[in-house]
């Protein structure tokens, strides 16, 4: 009950605080530079120059404190050891020689190739197919639904599918093993099978992200002009040819956006590996490795920070691409 009271009162204080800031800062500005009196013209100009900053200031403060400052701070931290002494590039040199780091980097690259590709592909297929049928929107909702499920919830869901009962422990209750046995195969502990367990973890993220890709690509497909498609029909193109040769080339831009968005998600993803294997059996990824170094056992902030900087480095191309795109549009 106390907690509820605390939460409710903080919401009220926080929200009213925000509103009060905007409200009173504006009134204050109008008092200092009144839009009437002897210097009305100059006052209006001054107030107009300041007012936008009043509006963006809270956002800039929070962004600066929670995203910009940490980038630099973490970078500096990555050049210190666990006791806080300056060690230069030592942490990075250590990283380059660390087996777990290499494994994580390799796995991350695998994730970066497979998950965005598979999600975009399935999203495209789902979008292309659901656009052609009556119950398409229902189907889309159902495929989209995993987006609402937490990575942890999804991990529980899939852990159950991959569940394994040893010999003499009775019937398989995991769907995958039941299917494998029904087809005459041998049941496996899927999440410990080297290399393939990575794929099984990726399937979870693909399952979640496909809906996202589908929704966006479906909108892009609907935006294609009818004329090009009709012209292709008249020339005798088959539906498949139309899809691959007429429609897809027209939505390349959107495909790229979807692809990069999922790429960024992949780089930051931590929960799935954390909940499924915690990096055992050769499934470690950078985000989870970083968590290990920062918060488990004897924390080493320097090494943890160095791993974060590697992740940062990997998203930088996407960042540059994003910025240049946004810049083009604003011109």
């Amino acid at each position: 009950m106390d907690q509820l009271l605390f939460a409710v009162s903080t919401i009220i204080v926080g929200v009213f605080g925000c509103v009060a800031y905007f409200y009173f800062s504006n009134i204050l500005l109008d008092r200092i530079y009144p839009a009437s009196g002897p210097n009305a013209g100059a006052n209006i100009n001054k107030a107009n120059a300041i007012r936008p900053w009043l509006f963006v200031l809270p956002a800039l403060l929070v962004l600066g404190l929670y995203l910009v400052y940490p980038v630099f701070s973490t970078f500096l931290l990555s050049m210190r050891d666990s006791r806080g002494d300056f060690v230069g590039a030592d942490n990075y040199i250590w990283l380059a020689g660390d087996d777990k780091f290499r494994e994580s980097l390799g796995n991350n690259l695998l994730w970066l190739v497979i998950v965005p590709a598979a999600s975009t592909f399935f999203g495209l297929v789902a979008a292309g197919l659901t656009d052609r049928i009556k119950w398409g929107s229902v189907a889309q909702s159902l495929i989209f639904m995993p987006m609402a499920i937490s990575f942890v919830g999804a991990s529980v869901i899939w852990k159950f599918i991959y569940d394994y009962r040893g010999e003499n422990q009775g019937e398989q209750i995991g769907l995958l093993n039941a299917i494998v046995e029904a087809m005459g195969g041998t049941a496996q502990t899927w999440i410990t099978v080297p290399f393939w367990n990575n794929i099984f973890l990726m399937i979870i993220l693909i399952w979640i992200q496909t809906g996202f890709a589908m929704v966006i690509l479906s909108a892009a497909l609907k935006g294609i002009s009818e004329e090009t498609i009709e012209a292709a029909y008249l020339d005798g193109a088959t539906p498949l040819q139309i899809f691959f040769k007429i429609k897809i080339p027209q939505i390349w831009g959107t495909i790229a956006v979807v692809w990069t968005t999922i790429t960024v998600t992949v780089l930051k993803v931590f929960d799935i590996v954390f909940a499924m294997t915690n990096g055992q059996w050769g499934t470690q990824v950078l985000a989870n490795l970083m968590y290990d170094w920062m918060f488990r056992g004897s924390p080493d902030f320097g090494r943890g920070s160095a791993i974060v900087m590697v992740i940062m480095l990997l998203v930088t191309p996407v960042m540059i691409w994003n910025i240049s795109n946004a810049h083009k549009e604003n011109r």
């Binding site: 995203l67 529980v156 809906g211 920062m294």
Partner: protein, 378 residues
């Protein structure tokens, strides 16, 4: 559209089938766990969830009570009991030797080679009748083929909510989520308006900066901000996590809202300005109401993201009962009760229920927000 007669119907069939298959593939995992969350522990661990709907057939081998315990009843001695140690079932056949485990129907009388008579009723009651006082401590073996009806229970949810701490975790999650959804919207809306409609130097630079921040991995923030929180005295707690979620959600919020607001018709705003309305009034009376779809879609995003988050909560909140969120609790359960699927399934569904409900009721806005952010100029 112009399609060839004949090929069209066949193609439509194929498309329908393919979509059906895809949808099935996508919902089966969730569905399976949902079913399991209503089954009892024994049922989950002995049979797949896909058998839960049908009556399950099982072969039970039980040992009847020892002859020593036989009760005299007139001229005969009787051993009686029930073959089902818990729950109910429907006996379809029984037998008294392993060679013929289904030799008799329920209610029929089987005569043992040693002369005593055995019968098992449909409800599982068995009765062994001896004509002379029997002795021995090993009871007769009974082979029973039984059908148990599908049974579903809410016990798992009861246990999870009240004994396993998910109820408390649910409250904690709400405490994290609600302020962490509302505060960034307010802050972002003002900033987005200024960036969309107010004259200011360096505006383009600010926008580019915010777009760049969209992809910054939030992991960079952990150590510096934990230190900061400790230094200013808020430590690990709710205020810290609200601020953190606000910071991590802001780039997307400002980006989405600015895109949307910039697309609003400029004439309205200009004419309001000409009429002498201040920017604050324009924002409040014109921009906010018109931006409702974008505000709603970001609210849903932020809500889902905060509700489903594990990492930020693990870092910025403590591990005590009064701060652990649901995702964290589930991860703990995965470790401590990894094989207890009834607990895991019910826990997962407690945590999934709210976002799914939000998702299905507000899906329209969510999709609109996604499109505003991703399909530019399309």
């Amino acid at each position: 559209m112009m399609e060839m007669a004949g090929t069209k119907s066949r193609l439509t069939w194929a498309v329908n089938l393919a979509v059906g298959f895809l949808v099935l593939l996508w919902i089966i995992p969730t569905f399976g766990l949902l079913i399991s969350s209503f089954r009892d522990r024994d049922a989950i661990s002995t049979s797949g969830w896909w058998t839960a709907m049908s009556a399950s057939e099982q072969n039970v081998i039980v040992r009847a009570d020892a002859p020593d315990n036989a009760v005299q009843d007139g001229t005969v001695w009787v051993v009686s009991g029930n073959v089902f140690d818990s729950g109910a079932g429907d006996v379809t056949a029984f037998g008294i030797t392993s060679r013929e485990p289904e030799a008799f129907g329920p209610g029929e009388v089987a005569t043992h080679a040693q002369g005593y008579q055995i019968t098992v009723e449909a409800n599982g009651d068995y009765k062994i009748t001896y004509t002379e006082e029997p002795s021995g401590s090993r009871g007769q073996r009974l082979f029973v083929r039984a059908e148990s009806p599908p049974s579903f229970t809410l016990d798992n949810y009861r246990e999870v909510l009240f004994a396993e701490g998910m109820g408390k975790a649910l409250l904690n999650t709400l405490t994290v989520t609600i302020p962490a959804t509302i505060i960034p919207i307010l802050v972002a809306a003002f900033a987005a308006y200024a960036l969309a409609w107010m004259e200011m130097p360096g505006r383009a630079l600010l926008i580019a900066g915010i777009v760049g921040l969209l992809v910054v991995p939030l992991q960079v923030a952990f150590i510096p901000l934990l230190k900061l929180h400790n230094n200013i005295g808020i430590g690990k707690g709710y205020i810290g996590i609200w601020l953190a979620h606000t910071g991590f959600g802001l780039p997307l919020a400002v980006f989405l809202l600015r895109n949307y607001m910039a697309g609003l018709p400029g004439e309205i705003i200009e004419s309001a300005r000409v009429d002498g309305a201040s920017d604050f009034a324009i924002f409040r009376k014109i921009i906010l109401p018109l931006s409702f779809p974008a505000l709603a879609s970001f609210a849903i995003f932020q809500f889902l993201w905060v509700w489903n988050d594990l990492l930020v909560a693990k870092v910025f909140l403590g591990t005590g009962e009064d701060q652990v969120v649901m995702t964290g609790r589930i991860v703990d359960l995965l470790g401590s009760r990894g094989g207890d699927w009834e607990i895991l399934a019910a826990s997962a569904f407690v945590s999934i229920a709210v976002p799914i409900a939000v998702f299905f009721s507000l899906q329209r806005y969510l999709v609109r927000g996604l499109l505003a952010g991703s399909v530019k100029g399309g």
